[in-house]
Amino acid sequence: MHQELIDAITEMNEEEALAIAGRLLDQGASPVEVLDDCKAAMEVVGKRFEAGDCFIPELIFAGDILAQIARLVKPRMASSGQTPHKIGKVVIGTVQGDIHDIAKDIVAFMLDINGFEVTDLGVDVAPERFVEVAKETGAKIVGLSGFLTLAYEPMKATVAQLRALDPGIHVMIGGGQMDDQVRDYTGADAYGKDAMAAIALARGWA
């Protein structure tokens, strides 16, 4: 662990974080180590988010710093032959009829950082597409996002089709107008109010 890199990220110090990451890699730190530092930093940011000490701007900005570090790391990753360990597969997307992606992108990113192999299907995703990709990837966890009340029906239809594919599949829902009443209505297993809730749910199911 390189505490100074972790601190630079958690303190939202973009230039310093990138400089430290570049220096560590140049000095021979392994790409996986640097990514582990990023993951540790994101855990700190996530915990602060959960505790109400940081918010969407911090999540987005820290995420952007991480993405930039990932771009530095990637070319070296291929040559090192190392790949990070994944703890489970998740298929995620915004349901049919809804084209909002901000919250869904944050959840997908946070799941990825926390060790999940995430297949992000984007927005306006038909129930059939969720089923097809869950089947292809063998994912046992599906995240359905929706910002508007129009998302309730397609969520319900998607849950039904996923259950028909595999009754044991775990489905979580989240987004602007979602709550536990909507979880009941759609037949999903859980409602998560934010990215940290989604991670906790996915960990419980992985």
């Binding site: 940081c54 987005i60 909002h100 129009l150 029906e153 009443q181």
Partner: protein
Amino acid sequence: MLPENFATLTPELKLEARLADWMSTDGKPFASPEAAEKYHARAKRYADVIQLREPDRVPTTAFTGDLQQHFTGATLGDYFYDYPKAAAHAIEFFERFPELEYFPASNFEPGPVYDKLGYTLYRWPGGKLGPNQGFQYVEGEYMGADEYDALIKNPDGWLLRTYMPRVMPGVAGLANIPVLLGTTELPFVPFFFAGMAAPPVTAALETLLEVGRMTLEYMGAMGQTVGYAVFGQGMPMTLGGFSKAPFDFLGDTLRGTRSVMMDLFRRPAKVLAACEALTPLAIKMAVDAAAGAGVPFAFIPLHKGADGFMSDADFDKFYWPSLEATIRGIVAEGVVPAMFVEGGYNSRLARIAEANLEPGTTAWTFDQTDMANAKKFFGPWAAIGGNVPGSLFQTGTPETMRAYVAKLMDTCKPGGGFFMAPGVVLDHAKEENFRAWLEAGLEFGKY
């Protein structure tokens, strides 16, 4: 009619004059004395709530986004492209719900206008979306980080020559409009108009003319629904103009959510300067429209200042100061800013209350905010309402709805200053739940 000396009045008297004009039935084309009487009683009830007097009953208002379409069997696309059909369905909706007391704004929109402009910011039903997909914003960065200075120096000019051509390719030629200093001397004028005569500019101006005519056609159909509801049934309008918090203008459709959030770290001073530069426009936009409509309420949806979106410190620094200035600027002109507070505002209530806004000049419709706290912090100085969840309309039962309304009334009704409303724009609902909501509002709303 407003008094002749209106411009010289204090904000309080301006508000009184605008409300009196709005409430008045004189010279308005009511279909019957009964309609006029209903109109006046309902308008007065609403004005009482705004001005923190206890009315005879809690008024019930709603934004019925796509609800009319779903209940009457029209597609959402019909409401964008088939004006006569949309007007007929809107009227059918009003006939079916005579308990509705105020004209409910809906997603009745001029699709052909957006097509003609090539509007890129949104997708809408019957356009790029299917006939039953609701209109939605396409998240993106529509203003570069390097454009802050241009926006700050001359927001209207930048919007006209850079932003409009970008998001409305149908009027791309506006980019070539010469600077208006060319109108200030006789010998300059020919040069100015030589610039205006350039083919891209004339093409853009012709498109604007046509779009204006198309908008009038749309407004004619909209006028039929207003004629039926307002003048036939006595349903006052409660939405006269629109505006937004300056931070939301900047963050929603200029910089986009991701970019503006990162700007808080990368260029905070520019964000603040841009919000400040947009504030006079945000005020004028609300006041001009409300004054033009004779409906002294400006709808201001609040987006990125919600709980969880940013810290209290960022809210205090980036979001609230320019919103407060906008609210005060609108109030100074005697128009009521009606904030539509999306998401939760629990951690903001006490902070906003500290601003000591003038009592009886603002309205706040809450979504997921704790209403006991809203009443505690806002009740003494502002009209509040909202909070009936969209999910309850869609997935609840008439019984759960009735119970919710009864509890909300218990919490918020005492002392007045409260209106019953959904916490969201209602796009979907079970009809029996919508009806139960209206009936419970009437039943539990009496003082």
